[in-house]
């Protein structure tokens, strides 16, 4: 349900049911159920990369499309990452419609063994359309990072989540 700019009421204006439905009911529905999606991983194997350029973390689960009404969105991720050796950076990024949001080393970085990763990023002025959101990552040269993906690893059977929601 799209958001409708609320009508400006004037003195003695009539209040037809259609206006109430459009400007009150439908807008409350829009606030209650904005476009969103989310995925939690529950894989048979954890995910590992040694890529030094941004690549998809999981092109199946961590790439989804939502149809937006135009405006701002929040995109978030949390998980646990292990960098083999514990001395190389692991960088995260988000791609919208196949284009990385940030250049250079992305939006978020962690370092070391078994690091909790969590970030929320605000995307602004996204037009009304169907957009694809993808979680991406890379490592510093010489590194190899593992995202624990609910694959049964002892004490690290952790289910990371990637999500997006339009906020207005």
């Amino acid at each position: 349900m799209a958001w409708t700019t609320p009508k400006t009421w004037v003195a003695d204006a009539t209040l037809p049911a259609s206006d109430l439905n459009t400007h009150v009911r439908d807008n409350l529905d829009a606030l209650k159920s904005p476009p969103s999606d989310h995925h939690e991983l529950n894989e048979v194997a954890d995910i590992t990369t040694s890529s030094t350029t941004f690549v998809d973390v999981d092109g199946t689960n961590y790439e989804f499309s939502i149809t937006t009404y135009g405006g701002d969105l929040l995109v978030g991720f949390h998980g646990t990452v292990n960098e083999s050796g514990g001395n190389q950076q692991v960088h995260f990024n988000i791609a919208v419609d196949g284009v990385d949001v940030a250049a250079d080393d992305g939006l978020y970085s962690c370092y070391g063994l078994r690091q909790g990763v969590g970030f929320v990023y605000k995307l602004t002025s996204i037009d009304a359309d169907t957009h694809t959101f993808t979680l991406r990552w890379k490592v510093q040269t010489g590194g190899a990072a593992t995202l624990y993906a609910g694959a049964g690893t002892a004490d690290l059977d952790i289910h990371p989540q990637f999500w997006a929601i339009e906020i207005g």
Binding site: E43, A45, T48, S50, T53, V55, D58, G59, S84, A144
Partner: protein
């Protein structure tokens, strides 16, 4: 150049990375593993022949073959294990007297050193090259 995906799941990550890097050079930017098997990441400068080479290397990869670094690590780990004495019981400092006495303080230092060595052993296992 699109990623090269090969359905192979039993690999030695670090060894395969090194094999691909040696064969492909600058067009190789890394590899990933997950539900699809092995994904080899190549730059736009990669030629079709590079993709073929990547597939062949992944398919022929022996997951049991170790890199030089992994072999050295395994040797060191085995040597540490060989030298280790598995004490059935490790006496607590209180078994050596009362707090403040010289022998008690010595036992306390040994006790904490042992805890530190245990922690280092776990750390070394966790930082084993992938």
């Amino acid at each position: 150049m699109p990623d090269v995906i090969v359905e192979k799941y039993e690999i030695n990550f670090r060894a395969l990375h090194e094999e691909l890097a040696a064969a492909l050079g600058a067009v190789f930017t890394g590899m990933s593993t997950g539900r699809s098997g092995v994904t080899v990441h190549l730059t736009d400068r990669a030629a079709a022949e590079d993709s073929i080479t990547a597939v062949r290397i992944v398919q022929l990869h022996d997951p049991l073959a170790l890199t030089g670094e992994q072999e050295a690590f395994a040797t060191d780990e085995a040597e540490i294990e060989r030298l280790r004495i598995d004490y059935a019981r490790f006496e607590a400092p209180k078994d050596f007297g009362v707090p403040g006495e010289l022998l008690y303080r010595l036992a306390e230092q040994v006790y904490y050193l042992r805890a530190e060595v245990d922690w280092l052993r776990r750390f070394i296992k966790e930082t084993r090259p992938l």
